[in-house]
Amino acid sequence: MSIFAVNHLCREVLRDHAFRAAMKSDPAKALAPLDLSDDERRALLAGDVGTLYRMGVNAFLMNYLARFEVCGLNLKIYNQRMRAVKVDEIGQPVG
């Protein structure tokens, strides 16, 4: 259920304003209690949304990370990293 945890925390950035503030000030500490794999935690802290997308995280939900500018992301950076993911015509990662 690990990818679920990533999807869920993305929505919590929208819903839970205290969590949003914690993710903005100290994301490593905010993520520490969550049940994430090492790869997921590393990708989140690096703002590596491309890797997370390839792992199966929901893009619509990850967009909240850019909207609220957590994990070093903003609209521009998020857009560049996500658009770098190679996908087929229905948006599934390839290669």
């Binding site: 679920f4 869920h8 857009n79």
Partner: protein
């Protein structure tokens, strides 16, 4: 007896309320919604039934129905902070919503429900423009259009017909408007965004083809071509077209008064009236 008096297809882009506040009543968005608002008011609706795709806010990946109806006396919105949308309490009709659910389940559609619920921009943004005083009751009917597997277009069209039969079997006289909310081609936050934006229109040809099929009343063709593959090819929220298809099923595949495309957003504003 309740009767269906009109159908509307609406976009729900969450930033539109901000754009209209910023750009004023003469901007394109304000004019397109304003035209629909006048058409809707002329129908004097007692109730709006809106087919909508929740954006993982009313429901989530821990519990995600393919179809569900909101059953309560009112609901709150928005629950996802779209800019310049006030907090609303929207009246609903609990008894009618429960009746619709019972009737469509009896007709073979296994429809879930939610009570004591809130909704996101996909319901409230069109209402913000069309019924801003929030005096017209609204029943949201949720269709899962974002997270595959998607229900088939054929199934959603048949669901719309079943909802129409349910409404028409309600014994109290009500003027009911059916709405379908959503885009025809749109990618939000995914790899097919346009450069520098948070969204994009991956399949503008499909969006235009949808508009043409709606205008030409080629609904069978639309349903045949709106496969899951095509809907996903149209973007990660391309399945929102299913809400329009359910609306068409409910109103009976009529010719529209107009379908006004806004192709830079991959969506349109549609009105079907016949009285």
């Amino acid at each position: 007896m309740a009767q269906i008096v009109a159908g509307f297809g609406v976009p729900h882009t969450p930033i539109f309320p901000h754009f209209v506040k910023r750009d004023g009543p003469d901007c394109e968005i304000a004019k397109l919604f304003g035209a629909q608002k006048a058409q809707l008011a002329a129908e004097r609706p007692d109730l709006i039934v809106m087919f909508d795709t929740d954006h993982l806010n009313t429901f989530f990946l821990d519990s995600l129905p393919i179809f569900a109806v909101g059953i309560d006396r009112s609901f709150k919105a928005p629950n996802d902070e779209p800019q310049d949308v006030p907090n609303y309490i929207v009246p609903s009709m609990l008894d009618v919503a429960a009746h619709i659910r019972s009737a469509v389940v009896a007709a073979g559609f296994d429809v879930g429900m939610t009570q004591n619920y809130s909704v996101d921009h996909s319901v409230i943004v069109p209402l913000h423009f069309l019924t801003p005083d929030m005096t017209v009751p609204v029943i949201p009917f949720f269709i899962s259009g974002h997270v595959p597997p998607l229900p088939s277009a054929q199934r959603c069209h048949a669901l719309g017909r079943a909802v129409a039969h349910a409404i028409e079997s309600w014994p109290v006289a009500l003027r009911v408007v059916i709405m379908g909310s959503g885009s025809f081609s749109l990618e939000v936050g995914g790899p097919r965004m346009a450069p520098g934006r948070s969204d994009g229109v991956p399949d503008p040809d499909w969006a235009m083809r949808v508009v043409n099929y709606l205008e030409e009343q080629k609904i069978d063709r639309l349903i045949a071509e709106a496969t899951q593959h095509q809907l996903l090819k149209a973007g990660n929220v391309g399945g929102e077209l299913l809400n329009w298809i359910a609306m068409l099923g409910a109103i009976g595949d009529r010719k529209p008064d107009y379908v006004a495309p806004q192709m830079q957003n991959g969506h349109a504003y549609g009105v079907w009236r016949w009285n």
